[in-house]
Amino acid sequence: MKVVILAEENDNHTAPLKWALEQAGYNVVCWAGMGWSPEKQASISFSDDGTRMTLGPHTVEPGDVVWIRRPQRPRSHPEVSPADKKFSDEEYRWFFHAVMYMLETLPVRVVNRYSASRFINNKSVQLLFARQCGLKVPHSLMSNSPEAVKEYVRNSPSRLICKAFFPHIWQKPDGHSFAVTETFELKPDMLSSDEVLTYAPAIYQEMVPKDFDVRMVLLGNAVYSASLHNPKGAIDWRQDAGQGLVKVEPIATPPEVEKGILAFARRSGIAYGSFDFGVDAQGQWWFLEVNEGGQFLWLDDNNRSLHIQEKFLAFLTAPEGASREEIERRQSQFPTWQDYLDSPAKDQVPAEEPDPEAAFMSKEP
């Protein structure tokens, strides 16, 4: 059995986790995603002998574990004729889908299955499933209709927040300054014209009166939660956490919340995910969203007692359906985040290259 990670080797989670797996004796290979260069080429062959998939130099074999961490977007050859570029791009995209969905049909374990990731990546499905699974969900509206938004605002008894469906970054004209989407309070003066509400759809939601936030990591049949206390009281803790301003502590998951999350996992088909909750003064956990590919090593970096790295690796290499006890029994075979920081391996990882064509970034004139 080998572990196949779909990401570049220098990806911020792939590098440390590949190292940790290898330290524990596992065979690990990476495939960065589909492209024209040899290491990114892929093949699926169908014959009487069965189906065979190769990803770059690696053959996907029965019993492998495939972790779909963060494959690059498909890249067509830069020398293709401009007259054929659209065709080439689209063929690459379709073939990429063919590979990703095909993985689910092979005798390998895939975390997460691509179909499940694509499905639950939708915020609307997340809110519906969370509610159906017994979790508390703030009243929400997703819309680009001025009438619907204004009616929602008029009838809402509480303060409201607004957030985007997906993060975006604006690069300012100086080239060095940036602004990034963040959950923000929706103030009346932002609704001065109807037209602005049609410039982009958005998610409008009743503000959860949070005492603190919780980041929960789902690992198969187990969940691990950490409280996030932000002394600045920001609505969105992410940027403050990036600056080390958020205190991360382990916290017990209420049984009814754990039950709801495990039901959510069964319903959506994801085995791994990072869930965000807001916890109010009454101790109620409000589901905000899940990121089925969310990062988790920052939790270990903020609090070395969590050991999410080892738990994730124990989960990844255990048979599908492993219990919490099994995960925790196996986790000791893997090095810790601190071990990685102390290792020379950390300094040998080349920097990640920004993608100049990334769709999540705009340049302001």
Binding site: N10, N12, A15, G33, R69, R70, R73, P74, R93, F96, H97, N112, S117, C162, K163, A164, F166, P167, H168, I169, W170, Q171, H176, F178, A179, V180, T181, E182, T183, F184, L186, M190, S193, E195, V196, L197, Y199, A202, D236, R238, Q239, A241, G242, Q243, N291, E292, G293, G294, Q295, L297, D301, V349, A351, E352, E353, P354, D355, A358, A359, E364
Partner: protein, 50 residues
Amino acid sequence: MKNDNRVLSRKGARELTPREAEGVTGAVRTLTLCSIGPKGPDGDVSLGEC
């Protein structure tokens, strides 16, 4: 630049500190808290972060 036709999310966007901006330009590696992965124009590839 005309600002009365900006999207709501831009109006509510957060200005990054210089340190945070390093992450955007690719300088931060192993602990990019909320790094955003490469994403195709139709949202196909990105499986999200944070």
